[in-house]
Amino acid sequence: MNARFDRLHADLADLAEQVTVVDLRDRSLRTSRNLGRRRTLVAAAAAVAVLALGAGAAFVVLPGGHTALPVGPGSSNQPSAAATSPTSPQPHESDPVPGMYLYLPATPTVAANNDILYRPPGGDWRKVATVPAPPQPSRTVVVVSPDHQHIATLSDGTVRVSALDGSQATTVATDIGTGPCQGPRWTADSRQLLITTTTAGRTGYTIQAVDLDGTGPHTVGTTSHAIGCGPVSSDGSTVYAVYPGALLAFDTGTAPRTVAADWPPGQEPRQVIAASPGSTRLLVATGSSADACHCSPLERYAVVDTATGRVTRLDNANDKQGSAAVSGAFTADGRVVLLAAHSRSDGGITLFLTVFGPDGTIVGNPPLPTMEYGYFVGIDG
């Protein structure tokens, strides 16, 4: 702040001191519970609306334009020929869920922490590795590379990379700022780290990339607006991030371009979660772009084709309002794996793991291990 405004700052501070500080803990919790109840009611209303639409769909348009009576309620649960498209792809009926890895971050109270778990198709979760606990678990972000061979940590504005066992630790970026959602994010090929940096006193956000061999950080692109929690890339050649209400592509060394896509009204991109091999498709969380504080009740998910801009909406992964994507990945054959979290009113968190087919339909809901929190690391193949 300019020194000439010291007086204004002092006067504002003096005025602000006139407020009486009160304990708002109980009032906040009460309001939180009320918010939860209200959202539940909204969800119930939405469910009723969906059922009503379903009943509407039970009307059959007869040849000649006459509308038949609705079918009786007893038959509404019967399989409908119209409900199943004969062209619906069913490529993974026998094995819809790929093998996948989770990382369970350190917490002071959970015995099974810092573990990497693996679940083979149709199998159970088991621990396959443990990452050394960071010295300050509550202040250190640990991100395991998709190939589960390295970890990146962010603590006090410094990014370090090391082998999975903590050896060969290297500082790759310092003073990246203290804003939210700065990363680091691994590229899908596990060869680069993407970091969003801010600089006090300067406008804008800069996306930087660091190669595993220590090259960098080099600037991928700069934007004058905050970008959502991201960015993502398959190999670092093109990096994608969310700009308010739009999806941006950063080709290194050029100005960012907007990825043209047909976003449904009120379902603009809010966070880009994962990139497919070759970055041909992106997994995106959508919602109202006007809701910058993410207060809207439902987050939806979609896959956008980066070449054509075609948006494929994914089936609703869960009916929990206030859910947010944690992480996700694409399989080579076009399936999408999404891990989302829902904060409960009691302060706990519930995670949902969902596998979608290439057409956006849910093909699997593999069970999760008992855990407090976790990140999706990567998948087989």
């Binding site: 702040m1 300019n2 000439r4 405004f5 007086r7 204004l8 700052h9 006067d11 504002l12 003096d14 005025l15 602000a16 001191e17 006139q18 407020v19 009486t20 500080v21 304990d23 708002l24 803990r25 906040s28 939180s32 009320n34 918010l35 890895y101 917490t107 002071p108 109270t109 959970v110 990497i116 778990l117 979760w125 621990k127 590795a129 443990t130 509550s138 202040r139 998709p146 066992d165 804003g179 300067r202 406008t203 804008g204 956000y205 004058s224 607006h225 308010p244 910058a292 504080c293 207060c295 904060s343 409960r344 009113s345 302060g347 706990g348 968190i349 008992t370 855990m371 929190y373 087989d380």
Partner: protein, 199 residues
């Protein structure tokens, strides 16, 4: 993806997952941490909210609403280390949206609370009253920009992010807010510069 072996040196492989249910313990811990966060941050949030709303009760309502939304996402925010930034952003967004919906705080609420502490004098009191009245004659967005820029010492970029507006809008709103302050409170004009600062 790769199918390379995952086992780090010296670590057992394929160890069965322990079936510890951490949730009961975790809920207690998260609740304690949320309490600590609320009690630690409420004073600063209330001060900013008071400048925004000009009223003790509205300030309490605003902070309470923001904290409730933070509570709904506490487990996630706490883990991400974003709670502080998220709370402030939510508070400022709620403030602007309240104004859009209800046009609150556009009338002059009650008198200033009694000065606290053992030190006060006429000039300070006069400045307080004048500044408070002048703030309440700004638009909510101008007020929010002023509070973020000159009370919270946020940069233009940080202010833009907190309010969900562009840096250009921050600059223009800052200039308009300062001009308005000078217009509605000429006695303060000599104290405050004629130009907005860029940081």
């Amino acid at each position: 993806m790769t199918d390379r072996p995952l086992v780090a040196d010296g670590l057992p492989s394929a160890e069965p997952l322990r079936t510890v249910n951490p949730r009961l313990v975790t809920v207690d811990r998260l609740a304690t941490e949320f309490d600590s966060f609320v009690r630690g941050r409420t004073p600063a949030l209330l001060r900013a909210a008071y400048l925004l709303t000009g009223d003790q009760h509205l300030a309490e309502d605003l902070v309470q609403s923001a904290l409730a939304r933070v509570h709904r996402r506490w487990a996630y925010l706490h883990h991400e280390g974003n709670a502080e930034a998220y709370t402030r952003k939510t508070m400022y967004h709620l403030y602007v949206s309240w104004w859009r919906r209800r046009n609150v705080a556009e009338s002059m609420p009650g008198d200033l609370p009694e000065p606290r502490g053992g030190y006060d004098h006429a000039e300070v009191t006069s400045t307080r009253i004048t500044l408070r009245r002048a703030l309440l004659r700004l638009t909510p967005k101008q007020r929010a920009v002023l509070v973020l820029r000159f009370f919270e010492d946020r940069s233009e970029a940080e202010t833009a992010e907190s309010l969900g507006i562009t840096v250009g809008t921050v600059k223009s709103q800052t200039a308009k807010a300062l001009a308005r302050l000078r217009a509605v409170a000429p006695e303060l004009a000599e104290h405050y510069s004629r130009e907005g600062s860029a940081r």
